[in-house]
Structures are given as C-alpha cells and as structure tokens.
C-alpha cells in the first residue's frame, strides 16, 4: 500500500498556503503536481546535459540524445509497447489525436467512411474529427451515453459498421472518472476492420495500461497529468500502422534525405525511421527527460498501488460528500467503476461559485464543462464542479473538503 504522507514530502508545492489555508490540491485531472525527482531531473538536464539531439558528434549532444531515446524506451516499457519505435513524443494528448487525424484519417478516409466517437469525449477527441469531416466529407457518428454517464455499449454495437474506419473513445472519462471497457470495444471494432484510438489522458496516470493486452491501435496521453512537465505527451501506435502513415509535420529530424534534382529542380525526400519520422524539428528534449523521471517515480510506487489507493480515496470521498445536504454527486454511485474523479453540484451555487468558495479555503477544484460540453448536455447539467485525486492526497484533506462543503448549507 502506498504511503501518501511519505509521497507528499516529495512535492514541494504541497507545503504552500493559499488564502492563509494549507493547499489542498484536488485538480489533478487537469494537471498533476510535480515531485522533486522530476523537478531535479529537469534542472540537472539543463545544468549538465543540454544540447540538441541527433546528428551532432559532440559529447553533450550524445548525452542529450541518449537521455531522449531512453525516455522513449521508458515510456514503451511503461505501457508494454513492443519498442520505442512505437512511441512518438508530442506536446500532449490533443496533439497526439491531431496527429492521427491528419496523418492517418486525412489520407485514408473518403466520403462514404465514418469516424465513431462517443458523447463522453473531451473536446480534443471531437474537434479534429468534425474539422476534417468538413474537408473530406466523411461522417462523424456519436455513441450514446447512459443517464448515469456510463458508455452505452449497445449504442456502440448499433453504430459500428463496415463504414467505420476508426473508433475513438476515452479510456477514462475526464468528467465522471468512469473507466470504459476498452477491450470490449476494441474486439468489436477489429471485427469490422476498424482501428481504435484511445484517449488515455485520464487512464495512463492512474491505472496499469498495457497496449498489447488492450490491443489498441493508438493510445494518446499527456505527461503533465502523470507528474511530468507540461508540453510533452505521447502517441503510441502499432508499428505496422505508423510505418504506413505519412509524417504529420515536415522539417528537420524527420527526414533521412532531401536531395535536390538538378534536372527537375525539385527535392526528393525520404523519411527518417520511426519514431523520428513523426518528430519534426527540435523536440522537447527536457520534457522527455522529465517524463522519464515521472514514469520512474510512478513505477517505483507501482501502478496497481496507485489505482487501489485512488479508488479507496474516491470511495471515502463519495461516502462523506453524500452526507452534505446541499451536495449532489453526478454519475455512478459505485466508486469501483471509476478513477479518482468526482463530479458534483451544490444546491443554490453554480460550479464556479463552488470552486471560488473552496478556493477561499485553499482547496483547488475544477469547475465548468471540463472541455466536455456534449456530455454535460447529455447529463442535463449546466456545468459541474469536479474534485480529482492523486497519490499525494489524503483522507484528512477529504475531511477538510467535506467540512468546507458543509458550510454551503448556510448559504
């Protein structure tokens, strides 16, 4: 079992006071806090190893290249990918999804084809498909969500067809924390020869994720939600699919050769190997180093322990929040089907009011749509307040959170 009090010692920011109260950070679904091991890795990189990667022969560049490649290796092992060739570093989940949209969907889909997404997506898994459908003419179809926020698997089975070329779904909803049955979706999608793209932004930081076991074709996630720095994220893709895809961006690093033909007066271009084919320009080297440190930190704790602890916290929080007369928790009552995310409302207060009220006591939560407006509309919510937990949160913090929530009863 993980020891949150020992873990908290690694997070300098948790010593802060906000509005004269000890900081309680319940917004890890938006971004996580960073342990000193990650902060130190970034500092050490810039103090000792900073240089551009690849194609330089000097010592510093060799060191930076090795660190950057090791970061890809570390990610590959973390999600059980076959090799680092399947790991593309991007800015975050949004860029990873856009990469698939522009490098796989754009060249492969025609008017008669369909992209299947769910009504529980983050906007980043809706907007790229809707944008491209305007250019290419393919259909974007939406899988229904049940009244409790769970995925309607019958609706999925009704919606999928031979026209479906790619199915996109979140592993874990960023609003409700519900864990979707990805294996079930993948099995059916593959029977229809459709690829599956999973948004792992809320799952990879909190659950053991094995891309081979899930058999997903693409998995997108962000470093900053899993203790790493902002500006670094990952697209995992099956090697045979990535090899067939053209590059997303053009520039340095992603090419093997740019040869000028004196007769045609054109350049012929050949691509670099995976994963560099998809990493044009100078990459976020330090971000990769920071992400590697974050993964080592999580592996040291053990992802099974992370999951068990967060579920325990979530169950505890839900039980105690339900005692507040003014609080209504949205989504399923069963904490075991969720990750550490609790959407809720407070009678008589808008979600932003709830967040500002809690902020007065040093408690940081999210409010609004959480970039998932269709899901809020489906659940008939104007907006929601969202508390989200991670390894550094404690029962005492939840007790304080509930105590402050109870003050809303007098409003």
């Amino acid at each position: 079992m993980l020891d949150p009090y020992k873990i908290r010692e690694d997070f300098p920011i948790l010593k802060r006071k906000i509005n004269n109260h000890p900081l309680i950070y319940f917004d890890s679904a938006a971004t996580s806090q960073k342990p000193k091991q990650v902060i130190e890795a970034i500092k050490e990189f810039y103090e000792k190893h900073n240089a551009n990667v690849h194609r330089a022969v000097h010592t510093l560049s060799q060191e930076a290249s090795e660190l950057y490649e090791n970061a890809h290796e570390e990610v590959a092992k973390f999600i059980n990918a076959d090799s680092m060739e399947e790991i593309i570093f991007v800015r975050g989940t949004t860029e990873a999804i856009n990469l698939v949209a522009y490098a796989w969907v754009l060249p492969n889909l025609e008017r008669e084809d369909e992209v299947l997404v769910t009504l529980m997506e983050h906007h980043s898994n809706i907007v790229p498909w809707e944008n491209l459908s305007k250019t290419k003419g393919f259909q974007v179809k939406y899988v229904e969500v049940n009244d409790d926020g769970t995925l309607d698997y019958e609706s999925f089975e009704d919606a999928i067809s031979r026209k479906t070329k790619i199915v996109c779904l979140p592993h874990v909803s960023n609003v409700t924390g519900i864990i979707n049955n990805v294996k079930r979706v993948v099995k059916i999608a593959h029977e229809y020869n459709s690829l599956v793209l999973v948004d792992g932004a809320q799952s990879v930081p909190h659950l053991p994720v094995d891309v081979k076991d899930l058999d997903v074709d693409f998995l997108a996630f962000s470093g900053h939600k899993m203790l790493g720095p902002t500006g670094i994220g990952v697209l995992y893709g099956k090697r045979e699919i990535l090899e067939r895809m053209p590059p997303f961006h053009g520039g340095g690093e992603m090419i093997r050769e740019v040869a000028f033909d004196k007769i045609t007066r054109r350049c012929s271009i050949s691509w670099n190997d995976l994963p560099w084919k998809f990493e044009a320009g100078t990459p976020n080297i330090c971000g990769g180093v920071g992400l590697m440190a974050a993964i080592k930190y999580l592996k040291n704790i053990g992802m099974e322990n992370v999951t068990v602890y967060e579920k325990t916290l979530t169950r505890y929080a839900m039980q105690h929040m339900q005692k507040c007369k003014t609080v209504k928790i949205y989504g399923p009552e069963d904490a075991s089907v969720k990750c550490g995310i609790i959407p809720f409302g407070v009678e008589g207060l808008g979600s932003h009011d709830v967040a500002l009220f809690l902020d007065s006591y040093g408690i940081m939560i999210r409010s609004g749509f959480h970039c998932a407006q269709p899901l809020h509309e489906k659940l008939r919510l104007k907006s929601s307040a969202r508390a989200s937990f991670y390894i550094y949160n404690t029962r005492e913090e939840i007790d304080r959170f509930v105590e402050v929530l109870r003050e809303t009863e007098q409003f």
Binding site: N19, G350, H352, D353, L356, F357, D359, S360, G368, F369, Q373, H376, K382, S383, E407, Q410, F411
Partner: protein, 89 residues
Amino acid sequence: MVSVKDYIARIEEACGKERDFIVIFKYDKKNEAMTKILKKAAIKKSVSQIIFELTFRNISFRLYGTGKAIFRNLKNKDELEKVLSDLLL
C-alpha cells in the same frame, strides 16, 4: 487617469450557452476594489465575509473575499466592462 484595467488582473469567460464572467482583481488592488463595490452595490446576503451576494442596477453577482467576482446573465464582455466601470470608477 484611473481605469478599470488598474483593478483587474484577468477576466475568465466560461464556455457554454450560459456564460459566466469571472473577474479576478489585482492582488494589490483587491481590497480597494472590494470596498468600492460593497459601497455601491446592495448586499442581499453574505456568508462569513467570504461570499457576498450583491445587486447593482438589477444585475446580480457574487463577490468573494479572495478578490474574485462572478457575473451572470450579461450579454457580453462590453456590458461587463460597463458595469465594472460604474462600480469601480
């Protein structure tokens, strides 16, 4: 010449159909801003000096002791700036 910008660090506009405007006052000006607002607006309710529910020219809004305010049901940012100008200047 004093302007509204002297008091305001940021205005966050919530997305969706029912847009909330969240006004965050500058840290060193928040007490002055709150004093001015509390003088001009009528207090409907308050909780422990943390939340003040206020009305000003038929506009309801909430002011927080931390130097933030939420305005609802305004047409647009221009209307918000007009209200803030009347409250602060």
